[in-house]
Symmetry: C2
Subunit: 345 residues, 2 copies
């Protein structure tokens, strides 16, 4: 087995660089075929690369600039700060030195770096930020915020790219796809959802139709597509409602000596549940549709989340996610152009 | 105190007419100043009006038609079936015989009946379907599905109508308003959210800016506005995630004899939590912006939900929700026309 190299932005995130370095160390421990190109200031990346944690599999890439978490104009920052750790990490992917990059820095800047520096796969109109959600079975939700305003054709491509990711990461054969909508019946929805439905019925493999918000965790589809505004709101609503309910449970358990005792007997089971619902198990959200994998980690990522992000990214690369997306988009372009030709004739 | 009359569609809902009749009986028990105009077939409404449950405060309104739950063209059904129980209930509101109507029938038909039969308040561009969500404090979310595609001005009016409802039903003075968005910073979002933000900053009283999905249950604002597509998806995502998590808890509690015992000690507390989160406590979603209150109950409404819908509706009427909305919309129209004049000068 060859090595897979992931470029890591040492500076991104609320707890950088320590959470990032600890995450890299964990990932290297768990994956013997992983190499890391660690991008950041000399005093951060050089000592780490030389340390025992690096196991001789970390290449220190010294950078001199940094993109701030709250960069007001992320596109300009990515263009101007050519030696920022995030931009250099993206460039390593473009140059083929690394097969993917991960950053817990500004999400907006990360999306720009992916799209502009790594570059789109030919035929991809808009790369999409996907997330794997827990539930009765894991589901790939796309888009979760890369594209606040969408055209129906974008959603069609999100479905194709989501299918490629589902099969690469979760091993699902012929993943089913649903459109997030406000009614399950055909013809329902906003103008966007109505048009996307028609396109998807014609052109998306294993399209099962509309699903509603209440179906997301029910495992009705392997891939659920929506525009980035709705997807982002859904993702954060799920986060919010789970943490609200877990908070409520905690206060119930803490209310009396008897409930505290009851809580003790349930502790193990609750730990399992929290793990099962933990968004950190997939560590980072992949930007799909770029020529190498871009992994957007949460700003508050723990070392575990960073490690999982790196490992999931490496797995996706080994399972040829980029090739799968490229083929899916090409096949579709050919089908669409044949169709246009037929219509013209 | 005068009587408040609510017109009730006896035929709407999955468990009609029995759930509806039981709900009416409950509501009459709890509210001595309530009258009901019960619309439906003679063999349903006449015996009930004459029964002890009606307490002499139910007026039987015999109707001969019915709107199906899955009516494929709800607008045509409402126009054509002039003697359908739902349409007659709406007409009683238009004629001033009742101050509001409730139906657990087809939501789409109910929205049409509200807008076309009861009629919009002058100046209201689009009536909005609001819902009161539980959380750290109750929050009015609008729109939750009446308008899948929105213009920024609609959202501005949803805010005004939501404020009127919040103060009428929840007794909030000067309710705060937030825009549901994909980032808390100014300038974030889809084109719609960006434009709505600008309008709301200028024209919405007590506007606190953007909130994200994770803030919905956190009680950050009294009223949260969004387009009907996003709002509907959010509402159903919340429903889905709460029921998913409660299901998980149940299976944890049932897993061993010890956890069953632990569950017993927590039973009372869990019952309280379920009640607290129960959407049925507000019983029905009000359509705001029509000349009388239209209450859209869930198709699967229990008698408790129907009763609460009627009682909440009666309370809103007594607290002058319609007048409050009318004044808010008029004031805004005057302000907007003054502004336009000033700009022209």
């Amino acid at each position: 087995m060859n090595f897979t190299t992931i470029a890591v932005d040492a500076l991104g995130g609320d707890f950088a660089p320590s959470a990032v370095l600890d995450g890299v160390a964990l990932a290297l421990q768990r994956d013997a075929h992983l190499r890391v190109a660690l991008c950041g200031p000399a005093d951060v990346v050089e000592p780490f690369a030389a340390s025992a944690s690096a196991q001789g599999r970390v290449n220190a890439v010294v950078t001199t600039e940094e993109i701030a978490m709250d960069e007001s104009d992320p596109a300009r920052a990515v263009r101007n700060k050519k030696d920022a750790s995030m931009v250099v990490a993206a460039r390593l992917v473009k140059e083929g030195v690394a097969q993917g990059f991960i950053s817990a820095g500004s999400t907006a800047a990360c999306l720009v770096a992916g799209t502009l520096v790594v570059g789109r796969i030919r035929g991809v109109q808009r790369p999409t930020l996907a997330v794997v959600l827990p539930g009765k079975r894991p589901v790939v939700l796309a888009d979760t915020g890369a594209n606040a305003d969408c055209k129906p054709e974008y959603l069609l491509q999100f479905a194709q790219m989501g299918r490629a990711y589902s099969s690469s990461i979760l091993g699902v054969e012929n993943p089913s796809v649903a459109l997030l909508n406000i009614g399950s019946e055909e013809g329902k929805g906003s103008e966007l959802a109505k048009e996307a439905q028609i396109l998807m019925r014609e052109q998306t493999a294993n399209f099962i139709g509309n699903v509603e918000g209440r179906d997301i965790l029910e495992g009705k589809a392997d891939v659920i597509v929506t525009d980035g505004f709705t997807g982002n709101v859904v993702l954060k609503t799920l986060e919010g409602s789970l943490s609200f309910l877990l908070g409520k449970l905690k206060s119930i358990f803490m209310s009396t000596p008897i409930t505290k005792l009851a809580a003790l007997t349930l502790k193990g089971k609750f730990r399992e549940l929290k793990l099962e619902l933990d968004p950190e198990q997939y560590g980072a959200a992949p930007l799909l549709g770029t020529k190498g994998l871009c992994l957007v980690a949460h700003g508050s990522s723990s070392p575990e989340a960073i490690a999982n992000g790196i490992l999931v990214g490496a797995k996706a690369v080994r399972n040829d996610v980029i090739e799968k997306i490229t083929i899916a988009i090409q096949q579709h372009s050919i089908a669409a152009s044949t169709q246009t030709k037929e219509q013209a004739e």
